[in-house]
């Protein structure tokens, strides 16, 4: 924080208006000059280019996407697999019979269709014959067997015998696959999600009245993830009512107990960007308190699935905080922590609590306090330049930075000091006791730093839009 100036200085009533005008004029001139700097203009072009690159980089070729989807369906869906083989078998039998019994099928198609539409015009051609044979194949495969056409040569009949016998197997497998898909759907309650859709998504474990507000705020921020998986056992109708009407968000619901590892794996936790655990009111009566031990247990389970998973835990009881810290939760939110400050500010600095209300509760789309990525070209620049960039390019106020601090690593910290024996013993014993030698990356903030504060790639900007 910039503590050089006391607030009283700014409240000095003796500062003359001429003096103020001079300062404002000087600042305006400086801003105008800065705005004309070629660096700032160049940066604008770079920022646009970076955005375009990002857009381009995110979209693979639609054909590849289609092929990937078909491959995925083939490998995951039994029904699709058997149906593909049946169609292939029908096509092979049709082609074989068309070649062997061409004369018979051609005569039959001419006799039956008569003068109505045929591909060959006046006389039936190979396409008409093929279609007619295809009709025969389907009639035979589906065991309907109209008997309007049948092979006459011995070879044709022999092939038909083979096809009909194979057909038994295919029809049985296809029937079985349909039944198994239906049973599986019934057992899982239609909750099997398409894994390819999930990467960097948000998983929210638990349900309470905060969730719709959380979703609303995430929906309003275009830079945030648009895929959310809710894991809780709250009534489906309640979830459905609360999760409709969002512009961007694609919300899924897994109606199972989120403390189970298998359930969290269903939500593809290892690929999730953020995992949020909140006090769970599912199935509770109005006077009952949520069980906070579940939050700790879920955090431990999540970290055992993926150590790098970014876990944000919301707790009501401050005693749970130390347990969550031990469980390696990345961020812990205590809801009433700021209330005493807000109450005191109503007395000492009226307007400040209202400012926070306006800022946090009234946040609209693209308005309010937001975290944005700093263009790569501004890396290693000083705070005043970055501040000027946001001011001139977007008219945003840069209030500070969110800095991703690397986690603590005991191994790095020890380095090469001391004897190798002691170092290896420390590592061996701590690992043996289940203590992880590294702690996760976490976020700290730097508010209103001095002008010469240097910014690196670990920083992202906190701007007031």
């Amino acid at each position: 924080m910039n503590d050089n100036a006391s607030p009283d200085q700014f409240q000095d009533p003796d500062v003359s208006t001429t003096e103020l005008d001079e300062v404002i004029h000087a600042n305006k001139e400086l801003y105008d000059k800065l705005n004309k700097l070629p660096e700032i203009e160049a940066l604008e072009a770079i920022a646009i280019e970076e955005e375009e690159d990002l857009d381009r980089g995110d979209k693979p070729h639609p054909f590849l996407v289609l092929v990937e989807k078909l491959k995925y369906f083939y490998s995951k869906n039994e029904l699709i697999r058997y149906a593909s083989w049946s169609i292939l078998l029908i096509l092979i039998s049709t082609t074989a019979l068309t070649m062997i019994e061409y004369d018979m099928f051609k005569e039959s198609v001419s006799g039956q269709v008569g003068k109505t539409f045929i591909f060959g015009g006046d006389e039936a051609n190979w396409l008409d014959t093929f279609f007619h044979t295809f009709w025969w194949s389907i009639v035979t495969f589906t065991t309907v067997g109209y008997g309007d056409v049948s092979p006459v040569t011995h070879l044709g009949k022999f092939l038909t015998i083979i096809i009909m016998l194979l057909n038994f197997g295919v029809v049985t497998l296809l029937g079985g696959a349909v039944a198994s898909v239906l049973v599986a759907k019934r057992l899982t309650g239609d909750d099997t999600l398409d894994e390819s859709k999930f990467n960097g998504h948000l998983v929210i474990a638990g349900w309470n009245s905060y969730v719709p507000s959380i979703l609303k705020l995430i929906d309003a921020n275009v830079d945030a993830t648009d895929t959310v998986i809710l894991v809780n056992v709250t009534d489906r109708d309640i979830i459905q009512r609360a999760t409709t009407g969002y512009e961007r968000l694609d919300i899924h619901h897994i109606p199972e107990n989120f403390t189970h590892e298998s359930v969290l794996r269903k939500a593809f936790l290892e690929k999730a960007g953020t995992f949020m655990i909140i006090p769970d009111n599912s199935g509770l009566l109005p006077h009952e308190e949520p069980d906070e031990d579940k939050t700790v247990l879920t955090c431990l389970t999540a970290k055992s699935i993926s150590e790098s998973c970014n876990v944000i835990a919301h707790v009501l009881d401050t005693e749970t905080v130390s347990h969550l810290e031990r469980a390696n939760a990345n961020e812990i939110v205590i809801p009433d922590d700021h209330v005493p400050h807000l109450l005191a500010k109503h007395v000492t600095d009226p307007g400040v609590p209202q400012f926070f209300d306006e800022l946090i509760l009234q946040e609209e789309k693209d308005k309010g306090l937001q975290e944005v990525k700093i263009p790569k070209s501004l890396n290693k620049q000083s705070h005043n330049k970055i501040s000027a960039f946001y001011k001139f390019k977007y008219n945003w106020l840069l209030v500070g930075y969110a800095i991703r601090k690397a986690g603590f690593s005991l191994d790095d910290q020890m380095g090469e000091s001391g004897s190798p024996l002691i170092r290896s013993m420390i590592k061996e014993q701590l690992e043996g006791a289940g203590v992880n030698l590294t702690s996760d990356e976490h976020v700290v903030v730097e508010i209103n730093p001095p002008d010469d504060y240097k910014v690196d790639e670990k920083h992202s900007a906190l701007v007031l839009r």
Binding site: F408, M414, S417, S419, L421, I422, M425, I426, A433, N436
Partner: protein, 187 residues
């Protein structure tokens, strides 16, 4: 049989000592031989002798309390191996080297005994190959230094150097252990 003055001079602690003085040291040292696995020094013993290794490889190890599957147990952990290069050992070490091996023409172990008469051995030392070594007692060395004070300066300088190095390592170890202690407490 006594070692030669050259053999004494190959040992780092005596490298700056003039040859005629080395002869005096050699005259009070008797060359002995030991088999692989023979113990030369035992951790925790007090001693007033320095072991001068002229040929072979020895392993320095320490007893450590470690947590094993069956509970806390004392286990001997190898720290380092010392090997002569001039002449090299007569045979390969008894096991494949899994710890760092320091090579020197010849070397001395337990040099603090040249300063303290009741120095406590801080580690075990045992032979990994057939070893030729000699024993220099504090009494013999003190007598030589009394008659020839000029030897003392260079020898005690080397002893002080290794003491300072040990101190720096110990300080690093304390710092690492303190960090590990707090790290383990906060997890």
């Amino acid at each position: 049989m006594n070692p030669t003055a050259e053999q004494i001079q190959k040992i780092n602690h005596f490298s700056k000592v003039p040859k005629d003085m080395c002869e005096k040291i050699a005259s009070v040292v008797e060359i002995q031989e030991c088999k692989p696995k023979d113990q030369l020094l035992t951790e925790g013993d007090t001693g007033d002798t320095m072991v001068l290794v002229f040929q072979g490889q020895v392993e320095v190890s320490k007893n450590m309390m470690v947590k094993t599957a069956s509970g806390i147990a004392t286990s001997r952990k190898p720290i380092i191996r010392l090997e002569t290069t001039d002449p090299p050992p007569t045979s390969d070490p008894i096991t494949e080297p899994t710890v760092f091996v320091v090579e020197a023409p010849a070397f001395g172990i337990g040099e603090f005994s040249l300063v303290l008469d009741d120095a406590i051995r801080t580690a075990h030392v045992h032979a990994m190959t057939p070893v030729k070594y000699g024993i220099l007692t504090l009494e013999d060395f003190s007598n030589i230094v009394k008659d020839n004070p000029e030897i003392g300066g260079s020898v005690y300088f080397e002893v002080a150097k290794s003491a300072v190095q040990n101190l720096a390592t110990a300080s690093g170890d304390i710092s690492n252990l303190t960090q590990a202690f707090f790290f383990a407490l906060t997890r």
